[in-house]
């Protein structure tokens, strides 16, 4: 588990010294120099060879070298975001080794290492902001598009830990953990006004203010408004009987965001709100085609108060309290008995809780983390009714508790050999019995420039309310479905010979069981219900190479090869939604004393099997970004051209869409101008 240097990496100047040892120690110092010996001076006189043996009095935040993390971590920084001009978190994740993004014109979804279920709601990837879980409590969705909490300008780093992460983070961390670390006020040190405009009548305005004051209060405020008309018409051959298959002005999207962060010494407050509206041009869920009164709206808000303190020498405590709200509603016009009936589908969730985390470095050769996380699902509600004539179809609500306790220890067996072992025990009100998920990692550096890792871990995901209760289409409930499980095995080698070069290779095997699938066979007894019927076996390898030059030039290539087998009722073979190959290339080049930056991104996504067992062809996307990075009279700017070669590629349709594949957008451009004051 990585703890970013920026998040929680603010070291404290005061060490609470307890215990007789310290008393004796200061006394012995006093003996040397009755006028209170100056420890600092003594340390300065130590020879280098002894400095490495002096213990640190203030407890560590346990900042791990990335190469020693028990995972093949991938990190994207604010600089990468500037270089490649990713518009949303989804864009950024699409650039990461092993991840691939699908958009069904409602939401964006992430697949990882050959696993993606079209029709799922991103419930198998844990999305965090500064270590706080953001997946909602109704669908467990981790949002990554315009419905994600943060504007891209607020992101300092994105850390992706592939593989199962339940041993520390609990549920939903089946395919990996994405932790987004935010910037602080001091990183802006002033105000910023941003205007964006682009193809398809897309606009965004944003105001940002950040400052660290002399009294150490650091404040960050950000607000933005986004609107896009989208495609003025979209052609769907499946609906050629209606309006010749054209959805006219049905692709509108809007989002509003507010985010604030306050930092004062070891205290951090985060608060955020995002509201995102999207029209659905695809007529999913049996909607009347080309009826503009068809949209979804998702609102998330949260508050998070986080406090770090050193409780003793070599022991740090992090306490956290949080409160989240999530509200969704979708409007779908349906044709029932030849008349138009508008269906209203909604979810409300409210949850709050706290975390305690202890980090200890007091035992020689050990660094341990232990914590307890409590979440009270105050309200989980699904509501569905027809508006006129009014007919209530579903009103399920419940509340309950989730508790997780974990312990992880990093044991340095030798200078170049680490054993990382941990486990987490989870109780979740959606399932009977406790979940125990272990993780073991052996990290060995045979030579100083080469790190090798052997990793084993498991993770679980409890069914959510959506999968448990009667759902929006009046499908059957299934009170007896159980948690999904994944076991993952991985071998990693990272070679860093210096000079900004990094080479990486991984071998992985993932075994997913009891995967919840919706039974869509009309003749089946469990028709419409989510049943633990799926099995997936994925194995593959990844190769990556990267070179960073001093002048900020960057070249990065990754290749992920996966073979995923899906075993489900009626299916046994190549999994749907699983490209065998993902190849990604990134190249950034600075110009004119780094005043300008050019970024090239090339993404290749191999062919995939659709839900109708057809082939969606392979495609590649090239994106080019040209940015003015150094402010010129206070102005900065960027021009991003996406899908430069105007590929009309196909994305897989979701389970509730008639379309087996959906044509995606061709070339688009977006211009951003920023003014700093």
């Amino acid at each position: 588990m990585i703890q970013s240097a920026d998040f929680g990496g603010r070291s404290t100047k005061t060490a609470f010294r307890h215990g007789r040892q310290t008393v004796l120690f200061s006394i012995s110092l006093a003996c040397l120099n009755p006028a209170a010996a100056d420890n600092a001076d003594q340390v300065l006189d130590l020879p280098l060879a002894e400095l490495v043996n002096v213990e640190i009095t203030s407890a560590s935040r346990f900042k791990q070298k990335i190469s020693e993390a028990p995972s093949a971590v991938e990190v994207l920084t604010a600089k990468d975001i500037t270089s490649f001009n990713w518009r949303t978190l989804a864009d950024a994740l699409n650039a990461i080794r092993g991840l691939y993004i699908r958009n069904d014109r409602d939401y964006s979804y992430a697949g990882a290492r050959g696993f993606m279920r079209p029709g799922d709601y991103n419930s198998r990837l844990l999305i965090m902001v500064d270590g706080r879980r953001m997946n909602d409590a109704a669908y467990d969705s981790g949002f990554i598009g315009e419905e994600f909490m943060l504007d891209m300008n607020l992101i300092e780093r994105i850390e992706y830990l592939p593989g199962s992460g339940s041993s520390v983070y609990g549920g939903n961390a089946l395919l990996g953990v994405v932790n987004v670390i935010t910037k602080q006020g001091k990183d802006f040190n002033g105000g910023k006004l941003t205007a964006e405009g682009g193809s398809m009548d897309t606009f965004r305005v944003r105001g940002t203010y950040g400052k660290k004051f002399d009294n150490d209060v650091d404040i960050l405020l950000n607000a933005s408004q986004y609107a896009s008309n989208g495609n003025s018409q979209l052609y769907f051959p499946q609906f050629s009987a209606t309006h010749n298959g054209f959805a006219q002005n049905m692709d509108h999207e809007q989002s509003s965001r507010v985010f604030t962060q306050l930092n004062y010494h070891n205290l951090a407050f985060h608060g955020g709100f995002v509201d995102r509206f999207k029209q659905d041009p695809t007529a999913s869920f049996g909607a009347i085609f080309n009826d503009s009164y068809n949209y979804v709206d998702d609102r998330s808000a949260y508050m998070d108060l986080d406090y770090h303190t050193d409780v003793a020498k070599g022991l740090a405590l992090e306490t956290r309290g949080f409160h989240h709200w999530y509200n969704y509603y979708g409007v779908t016009p349906q044709a029932i008995d030849a008349s138009r009936v508008v269906n209203y589908d909604a979810a409300n969730a409210r949850w709050w809780g706290g975390e305690l985390k202890l980090t200890g470095t007091q035992f020689k050769s050990h660094q341990w983390i232990s914590g307890v996380e409590l979440q009270y699902d105050d309200l989980q509600q699904l509501l569905n009714y027809n508006i006129k004539p009014y007919q209530l179809l579903n009103n399920s609500y419940q509340s309950g508790t989730r508790i997780g306790v974990y312990l992880q220890d990093e044991y340095r067996l030798a200078d170049n050999l680490l054993l990382n072992a941990g486990a987490r025990l989870d109780q979740n009100h959606m399932i009977n019995g406790l979940q125990l998920n272990p993780r073991v990692g052996l990290i060995w550096d045979p030579i100083s420039t080469l790190t090798t890792k052997l990793l084993y871990g498991s993770a679980f995901r409890a069914p959510n309310l959506y999968e448990r209760s009667t759902n929006s289409l009046g499908f059957a409930a299934n009170a007896n479905n159980k948690q999904e499980l994944i076991t993952s095995y991985e071998a990693v080698a990272e070679f860093r010979p210096g000079d900004g070069i990094k080479l990486l290779g991984t071998l992985f095997y993932n075994d997913m069981e009891k995967v919840l699938l919706q039974d869509l066979t009309p003749t089946s007894a469990t028709y419409g219900a989510f049943i633990n019927a799926g099995k997936y076996y994925a194995h593959g390898f990844e190769l990556g190479s990267e070179k960073k030059w001093h002048n900020d030039r960057l070249l990065k290539l990754t290749w992920t090869h996966t073979i995923t087998q899906q075993v489900a009722p009626g299916i046994n073979g190549w999994a749907q939604g699983s490209p065998n190959n993902l190849v990604k290339a990134h190249y950034a080049e600075p110009f004119l004393d780094n005043r300008f930056q050019l970024g090239f991104e090339e993404l290749f996504i191999d062919q995939q099997l659709t839900l109708a067992n057809q082939i969606a062809p392979a495609y590649h996307l090239m994106n080019i970004n040209f940015a003015l990075t150094k402010p010129w009279h206070g102005f900065q700017g960027a021009l991003g051209i996406y899908n430069v070669l105007d590929q009309h590629y196909l994305a897989l349709g979701s389970a509730q869409q008639v379309q087996d594949t959906l044509a995606m957008d061709g070339r688009t451009a977006r211009l951003r101008v920023e003014y700093n004051f």
């Binding site: 100047k13 006093a30 002096v54 780093r157 020689k364 200078d415 900020d552």
Partner: protein, 182 residues
């Protein structure tokens, strides 16, 4: 803790404990704050690095970023010498010209964008770059301080050191936890 010490002091216990525990040998420093240790490292690096044209330098300058933790105590090395020259600590505003620095220390609280900007500015200049940011060497820095086993250790990437025309004493490399780019 201090109160306890004072009361011990008042009762004369300190003197007694001194007599009992003090065997005349200098007591080794066994624990120190991370800021003190960081400073001690920087001071040692000043002693054990060869800068080109060192004779034309009047003062050995350690530059620290203004927002960092070491900027609070600019006189911490007052009166000390390295290579027979006075040692000064200078705090720099972000991206000020670092040409007068022998060592540039970048605090982990600096964001990575600033750090890479600093690194670009110092590229090919005879300035030893040091930081306690965990991925500093991957960013192109020369020496990274890292906490391990409740101690402060360091790792070196020699590529940048060589490009800058600097020379690190072999003693430094021996003690380093990890050396890249040999």
């Amino acid at each position: 803790m201090r109160r306890l010490y004072r009361s011990l002091n008042r009762t004369g216990l300190v003197a007694l404990i001194c007599l009992l525990s003090h065997v005349g040998a200098a007591v080794a420093v066994s624990a120190s704050s991370i800021e003190e240790l960081t400073l001690a490292y920087l001071y040692n690096f000043l002693k054990f690095t060869e800068w080109p044209a060192v004779d034309s330098i009047n003062e050995m300058t350690i530059c620290v970023s203004k927002a960092g933790r070491l900027a609070a105590n600019p006189d911490a090395l007052a009166g000390r010498l390295a290579q027979n020259k006075k040692v000064v600590i200078k705090s720099l505003d972000t991206l000020k010209d670092p040409r007068t620095c022998q060592i540039l220390f970048l605090d982990q609280t600096e964001n990575s964008l600033n750090i890479s900007q600093w690194l670009k500015q110092t590229e090919k200049l005879p300035i030893l770059t040091v930081s306690d940011k965990p991925d500093f060497l991957d960013m192109g820095g020369m020496i990274m301080l890292i906490e391990a086993d409740n101690r402060l250790q360091f790792e070196v990437d020699l590529t940048g050191v060589r490009n800058a025309g600097l020379n690190l004493n072999s003693q430094v490399l021996k003690i380093a936890r990890d050396v890249r780019g040999k």
